[in-house]
């Protein structure tokens, strides 16, 4: 049992677990800093997936697992990652690590997890196993709970080996050596540039970044014609879920990125980045207002048409494009001077 593990609740599972593990080794990096370094901000309008009930067609983040891998690779921390075919072997290896006093991060399925508030078949939730007492494990789940929890051996094994899309196969990760982190200012600039590049999109492809938001607005205009009145509302509800509930909630990671820019301004000594941080929260508020309007539309409390909602989405896309173009130039000005 590891005694001095500090459980800090966070907004998002993956970044929360990463910052908690780093904090255990004495590296004080906040959750939002890891989100920024891992280039987590993105927008994807997922193509080719048919819309059936609560299937989600949009993602406000990159692929699960990439934030952890990118952030720690940049920081130069040595990590171990392992997947298994044998279930008992997977549990035994984890016990060995726990006996040495190493906290182990796990990728688990959400459906069979006993304390999970959502019963969805989503196999990329992250939590951290902290200790073992007899047949029970102590876990820290920073995105849902404020305290440490207990889970039985059989439950944890079942959760680590779910079936369906994106099988984790008992994927676990840990830090091999005690990390030493020096100056991170150049890493911050590098990751800001890459995020700008990602959000401004690939040319001629209309599913990623700002172009993806525009594509979403085009589909929203045709919603009623395509799905009928009832199903169009379900589609809007799933959009609200993506903005408000999944991951961080609260306008899909925009506020978290704003906090990252605010912290970056202090580390880099660039007060101009603070203005960008405030602008980012304004964009986050626009997303939240959109969710509010959609909620009213679902409950029949306002006479907003789907075209009006789509116009708002176009407004957000324009604001984001302007923001990231300006943020990209920020670096260039510094290089010239």
């Amino acid at each position: 049992m590891i005694t001095n593990f500090e459980h800090r609740p966070s907004a998002h599972c993956e970044t929360g677990v990463t910052s908690n593990i780093l904090n255990f080794y004495g590296c004080k990096l906040s959750e939002s800093m890891i989100f920024g370094l891992g280039e987590g901000l993105s927008f994807i309008y997922i193509p080719f997936i048919p819309f059936k009930g609560n299937a989600l067609k949009f993602s406000f983040r990159t692929v699960p697992g990439s934030v952890f891998a990118r952030a720690l690779k940049k920081l130069g921390v040595k990590i171990g990652v392992k997947r298994f075919t044998n279930k008992e072997e997977a549990m035994k290896e984890m016990d060995n690590l726990l006996a040495q006093g190493i906290p182990v991060g796990n990728v688990v399925g959400m459906y069979h997890l006993p304390h999970s508030p959502y019963r969805t078949h989503f196999n990329a939730h992250t939590l951290c196993v902290v200790g073992k007492e007899g047949d029970e494990y102590t876990i820290s789940d920073p995105s849902w709970h404020t305290t440490l929890l207990k889970i039985s051996y059989s439950d944890l094994m079942r959760v680590r080996f779910p079936a369906g899309a994106f099988k984790p196969n008992g994927k676990m990760f840990w830090i091999k050596e005690k990390p030493v982190i020096g100056d991170i200012s150049h890493l911050i600039e590098q990751s800001i540039q890459k995020t700008c590049k990602k959000m401004l999109g690939i040319p001629f492809v209309s599913y990623f970044g700002v172009a993806g938001i525009v594509t979403m607005s085009k589909r929203m205009r045709k919603l009623e014609k395509r799905y009928g009145e009832k199903d169009a509302r379900v589609y809007l509800a799933s959009l609200i879920q993506a903005i408000e509930e999944i991951g961080t909630g609260g306008a899909g990671y925009r506020f978290m990125y704003g906090l990252f820019l605010h912290e970056a301004a202090e580390i880099l000594n660039k007060p101009k980045l603070k203005d960008f941080s405030i602008e980012m929260t304004r964009i986050g508020d626009l997303w939240r207002l959109l969710a509010l309007e959609c909620g009213r539309k679902i409950k029949n409390r306002s006479e907003v048409s789907y075209n009006d909602l789509a116009d708002k989405v176009v407004e957000i896309a324009a604001a984001e494009k302007k923001f990231f173009l300006a943020l990209k130039k920020e670096k260039l000005e510094k290089n010239n001077s």
Binding site: N54, P117, R119, T120, A163, G164, G250, L259, T281, L292
Partner: protein, 125 residues
């Protein structure tokens, strides 16, 4: 089984999460309640449960179809959990084939839904 689905709906409501917000000077972290969009998405789901329940009572579908719907599964997912081919599961959705199934396959299905074999054969009201 109906009660179990309602429990799942109840679990999704009233959930609280960490939020970051900016008050003009400093960043804060707080816990905030959410608008319940999940329930709206689930209404479509529960309507489908009703139609499938009627079809099972009329003898057009087997109880397996009902359990798949109430547990938020589909044929592809169930096939990957039980390792029974998809085309076999599709055949098991008809009552005639389902009634002739042997104990082993029934046990496999029951283990995934976390119920007994007897509960698998009937649908609750």
């Amino acid at each position: 089984m109906e009660a179990r689905v309602n429990d799942k709906l109840a679990e999704t409501t009233g959930e609280q999460m960490v939020q970051y917000y900016f008050d003009g000077k400093e960043w804060h972290k707080k816990w905030e309640k959410k608008f319940d969009a999940c329930a709206v998405v689930m209404t479509k789901h529960s309507q489908e449960i009703e139609t499938i329940r009627q079809q099972v009572l009329d003898g057009q579908l087997s109880p397996l179809a009902y359990h798949i719907q109430t547990n938020l599964f589909n044929v592809k997912l169930l096939s990957s959990y039980t390792k029974i081919p998809k085309r076999h599961i599709k055949k098991h959705l008809t009552p005639d084939v389902f009634n002739q199934l042997d104990e082993e396959t029934l046990k496999k299905y029951a283990a995934v839904f976390e119920i007994t074999v007897e509960e698998l054969k009937e649908i609750s009201e």
